[in-house]
Amino acid sequence: MADTTLMMPSTSTATWADDAAPTQQVRSYWQSVGYRLRHDPVTLFFGLVVVLIVLAAIFAPWIAPFDPYKESIVGRLKPFGYRGHPLGTDELGRDLLSRLIYGGRSSLLMSIIPVLCATAIGGTLGVIGGFGGRAANTIIMRTMDVFYAFPSVLLAVALSGAMGGGMTSGMISLALVFIPAICRIAETATTQIRNLDFIEAAHASGAGTLTIIRHHVLGNVLGPVFVYASSLVSVAILLGSGLSFLGLGVKPPQADWGLMLSTLRQSIYINPILCALPGAAIFVTSICFNLVSDGIRAAMDVRL
């Protein structure tokens, strides 16, 4: 609460509106979401960590102390601090810290791209299903039910396994795993508002279906879809790394957390700590995205 009082003088009138009568509503929805986010230290902190992880992945060539692909026959599986390698070396003598930094690239790509694709496709399908009449709804939603009938890990493994593995097929299968869930959220939100009076009023005043969807439906559907999609990023990191761990995602020698976990696993009897590190990176990234998503959900006041 001390924060709030300190903030008062700098944020001028907008802050005062919070205490004023509800008739003097100054703040828009997004302003109040921003206000709530700014006063949520947990979300801010973990959001900062997420930003740092993403920045480290983007600027990996400038941050990483060594070349992540340079092997050394004599310097394999060395402990922390060996010849300037802060976190030691892996089973081929490559610098582990550099590989962890580079590994964030594929792990983040493999989680964010599928979620974005699934949001676009699933969201569109959901809005069509909710707005396009009975036949469209039945076809889309019953198809989604079939994909819902697989446990997510199983579906991801089955699809990418059948497609022969690799990063692209991993991303396609993750997107396919997420589409049904996002589609359901979008469909529910669309059906809920489709029968409200303002939609009818828009119809009556001659607005076409596309105009109504663009102006009235999307604004109400995007909120829940965005919140849900943000919670999927953490799941995608776990699943994507899991696929790489099974040998279905990123192929060696590319640096990837899941892949590193699976190759370093073979040397737990020589240097067990090294093997724990990539997993810890997966865990930290996933929990940060999870908590940020929780914070966004609370700030946007969305119930799923």
Binding site: A149, P151, S152, V153, L154, L246, A276, G279
Partner: protein, 318 residues
Amino acid sequence: MLSLIFRRILYALPIAIGVSVVCFSLVYLAPGDPLQTILPADASADTIALIKHEYGFDRPIPVQYALWLWRVLHGDFGVSISTRRPVLLEVAGSLHNTAILALFSVPLSFGLGYAMGAIAGCFPGKWIDRIVTGTAVMGVSLPNYWVGIVFVILFSVEWMVLPATGMGLHGSDQFDILSWSDARFLILPVVTLAMVPIGILSRSTRAAVSEIRGQDFVVTLRAKGLSEPAIIRHVLKNSLPPVMAVMGLQFGYLMGGSILVETVFTWPGSGFLLSKAIINRDIPVLQGCILALAMVFVATNLVVDLLQAAIDPRIRRA
């Protein structure tokens, strides 16, 4: 109730058919020819055509599906490409081993998760709620394959108290839960597998309990002077249906999603079979395994649906 059971089964049937279509089409997702793995590299065009005809790959795809479904319904899932054993035998044996894991993970995770969530939901905002919520977030963010490896490092490599991998000295055929020398192989995989469900379950139980605590009937009970334990009993009873739906999903997850944990512990279950099938590009086993696991999942959801209706008259009437 009977008509409800009938209706739910009728509803599950098209989903089961859809699942079988997805499993069938996995063969066509594979890059290259489905016969690539069994054909010799120098096969002549005649040989290829002959084998294609033998396997029925020269027929229209809907006909192929119908034939495949007919065989599957008669218990013929084909023959494994790598071991030459019938897929049905391989899948049945591995499902049995996965079921052993689930059998122990389910009570552990459901009991612990429900208890944690209920306690947290009864004291929202208190320190115990914060601890449970924090633990739950950690549970759902943990890569359980990594937890398994860390457990192996700690308990098998560093302290040498529990075995790292496998299913006992006598293999899966003579696995004896009652003898300690075999049962100790269960401990690490079971605990690892329970992590994620504990997190998810305590989260959703907490949400359900704290939502029901705010409902009007609870206020009425309190106004009538009911004691706090009696109110909690009412709240817990009402929180059960939504939590059971989550439990059903999690049971399916434990059966179908154990692939990573089974790979870490080389547990000869369905997930391990699946990952072997992927490495060997053994499509019949892949197909059979996924079909079996997905059907278990569909059946679980059906049972959970009916159980929910059985304990909650509101769902029955809807």
